[in-house]
């Protein structure tokens, strides 16, 4: 009975909506401008970038609505390229893989609205041997059938993280900053600037802190040696998996400071973030999230050597697209940090690709 009632109610709503709508009375109009811009060149494009302490990652996924050659172009800006030790090419879409179900649904919906009827949407692994790299620019061309998607995905692993971060439009990205003040009673202040659409941050106060010059030296040397082991500018995960990687040095059990705070008891890695300072793995944790600028503070007490606090930050970014026209064909140049575009043989590409960018920072804050 309930099912009948549900069907009747649905029928009522659907019929009512259909009869009152314009499309019931008119010939189907041309697809609206939004869909045309989204699927310009019969392509749908999705991208995700991430910049963190270890490198700069790019994923660009393109789905074609007809049989055609599709070209990806991703230019890594000089301020990133100069800090990269080596690039890794990946055969899959990671973050965009997470979104795959939604992306496939979107491709099917857009193709239906355009009057095309794709039987299915499938992912085609990229031929990594055909990805070209020259002067910080990656290009890849693939012949895609209607309903096929493929990806250009790579990471530039840093020898050191750039000190300044720029957005694609040339503006300097103001980064979150943190400082410590006090004596035995300390105040950590974390300032999140404007510019991040959404962000979250966690503050980790180590219960015991260790600073060993000997370990610092071994830890730094290990990392430098590991990076120089690769010896190629562009490589793949397959090649890296063959490498014999020496074991990472473990921090000693000596501590020089004890800290106390009102946060929740949390345990994690002994190394604080990306640094070579260490704890016994026990922390007092504080979690925050928000939108826009904010100043956060946390109090703690410390005895012994000078304290250090581990802050992790993830912020979401957005930068307006730039549209280019060449010989009557148009596409967008997009990306949060890099200059990325995707186009077909005519030079057409989406004017409104789906773009996401993340800035992820492990910050170790010390006094003085």
């Amino acid at each position: 009975m309930k099912r009948v009632a549900f069907v009747a109610l649905s029928l009522f709503l659907v019929l009512g909506a259909v009869v009152m709508s314009d499309t019931f009375w008119k010939e189907k109009e041309h697809p609206d401008r939004t869909i045309s811009a989204t699927a310009n060149g019969d392509l749908l494009v999705f991208s995700a970038e991430r910049l963190d302490n270890t490198g700069y990652s790019v994923e660009v996924l393109a789905c074609s609505l007809r049989d055609q050659e599709v070209t990806f172009s991703a230019e890594v800006p000089e301020w990133i390229d100069s800090k990269v030790a080596f690039y890794i090419l990946y055969p899959n879409a990671d973050y965009l893989g997470l979104r795959w179900e939604g992306i496939r649904e979107q491709v099917l919906n857009v193709s239906r609205d355009l009057g095309l009827h794709l039987g299915k949407v499938e992912f085609l692994k990229p031929a990594l041997g055909r990805v070209r790299h020259s002067a910080g620019r990656f290009t890849y061309s693939a012949k895609l059938k209607a309903g096929q998607c493929t990806v250009l995905s790579f990471k530039g692993a840093f020898k050191e993280m750039p000190k300044k971060v720029y957005l694609r439009n040339g503006k300097v990205l103001e980064l979150p900053s943190a400082s410590l003040s006090g004596g035995e009673e300390w105040l950590l202040t974390l300032t999140v600037p404007d510019g991040f659409n959404a962000w979250n941050a966690s503050i980790m106060v180590p219960k015991r802190l260790g600073r060993s010059e000997e370990f610092l030296r071994r830890c730094t040397e290990y990392r430098e040696n590991l990076i120089s082991l690769v010896g190629k500018r562009v490589t793949t995960m397959e090649e890296l998996a063959q490498m014999d990687v020496p074991e990472e040095p473990q921090p000693p059990e000596d501590y020089c400071a004890e800290l106390r705070a009102n946060g929740s008891d949390v345990y994690s890695t002994r190394l604080l973030g990306n640094s070579c300072l260490y704890s016994d793995g026990s922390y007092y944790g504080f979690d925050y999230s928000g939108e826009g600028s904010q100043v956060i503070s946390a109090r703690f007490a410390s005895t012994g050597c000078k304290p250090a606090i581990w802050v992790t930050f993830t912020g979401k970014l957005n930068v307006p697209l730039k549209q280019v026209n060449e010989n009557g064909h148009g596409r967008s140049v997009f990306g949060v940090f890099g200059n990325i575009s995707v186009y077909n043989g005519d030079g057409n590409g989406p004017l409104m690709p789906d773009v996401e960018g993340f800035f992820v920072l492990d910050l170790v804050v010390q006094s003085g």
Binding site: A93, D94, Y222, D287
Partner: protein
């Protein structure tokens, strides 16, 4: 104007017709789905209908007749095979746990509802809860903030809703909860647990299988939850190589053992 009048008239007539035919039934249509209060469908393995819908191997009794309950929740990935339920199930069974299993893709494609999922927990005392695979993106403004129940980012619940629904039905006070998915340490909001383990940021799906298996094997070897977690923390090399690497955090009793 004529067309507009025709639209209005026909629309009104159709609405009245549908209302007349549905009125006696419509009140019941707004009741909560019956499935929520029903027993889990896999409690009736003799039903041929149920056998068609739910994998018959969804519950495995623990060896030695133990009464402790473990729950494995698997969200598959289309392009990366990180399935390792069989390994974890075998370990948990050997330690006397009755293992309940939810394959979000399988259930989603076999017309299960989220209420079937929650109903499985009715009256249980859960000591192990292991969720592995994608977590859900529910609100576009947030990165990742929920649980996928039917293999669709839009059919999930936020952490608050998820844990409140589970803990209304089951006792998690002594449970180890391990969520091996993106940003999962944040997903403890609202959870009741003895020990909770999660990631501090998005994690690459290619890392899930190896880390999941290693973690459970360490627990199987008698290690504590903290020691097992430390064995899967990313090395410097791993952080360099992967686009999405994450560190693990643990809250609660770090000395929890299987």
């Amino acid at each position: 104007m004529v067309i507009l009048r025709m639209k209005l008239q026909l629309g009104i007539v159709l609405m009245i017709l549908v209302l007349v035919f549905s009125a006696p039934l419509s009140l019941g249509a707004f009741e909560r789905p019956a499935a929520e209060s029903a027993l889990p469908s896999w409690a009736f393995p003799q039903s041929p209908l149920v056998q068609k819908v739910i994998a018959p191997t969804a519950v495995w009794p623990g060896y030695g007749g133990g009464s402790a309950v473990a729950f494995i929740h698997y969200v598959r990935d289309e392009h990366e095979n990180y399935y390792h339920t069989d390994v974890v199930r075998e370990i948990l069974q050997r330690h006397g746990y009755s293992v309940y299993y939810w394959d979000a893709y399988y259930q989603g494609t076999h017309r299960a509802s989220v209420w079937d999922y929650y109903a499985v927990f009715n009256g249980k005392t859960v000591r192990v809860f292991y969720y592995y695979g994608h977590t859900a993106k529910i609100y576009p403004s947030d990165e990742v903030n929920g649980f996928m129940i039917l293999q669709n980012p839009n059919v999930g619940d936020t952490a608050q809703v998820f844990w409140s629904r589970l803990t209304r039905r089951a006792d998690f006070h002594n449970a180890l909860i391990f969520i091996l998915g993106c940003d999962s340490f944040k997903l403890r909001t609202g959870a009741v647990y003895k020990t909770y383990i999660g990631t501090d940021r998005p994690i690459g799906v290619e890392l899930i299988k190896d880390k999941g298996i290693t973690f459970w094997k360490k627990l199987d070897d008698g290690k504590t939850a903290y020691q097992a977690m430390e064995s899967i923390q990313p090395s410097f090399w791993e952080r360099l190589l992967h686009k999405y690497w994450a560190k693990f955090k643990i809250a609660g009793d770090k000395n929890w053992r299987l």
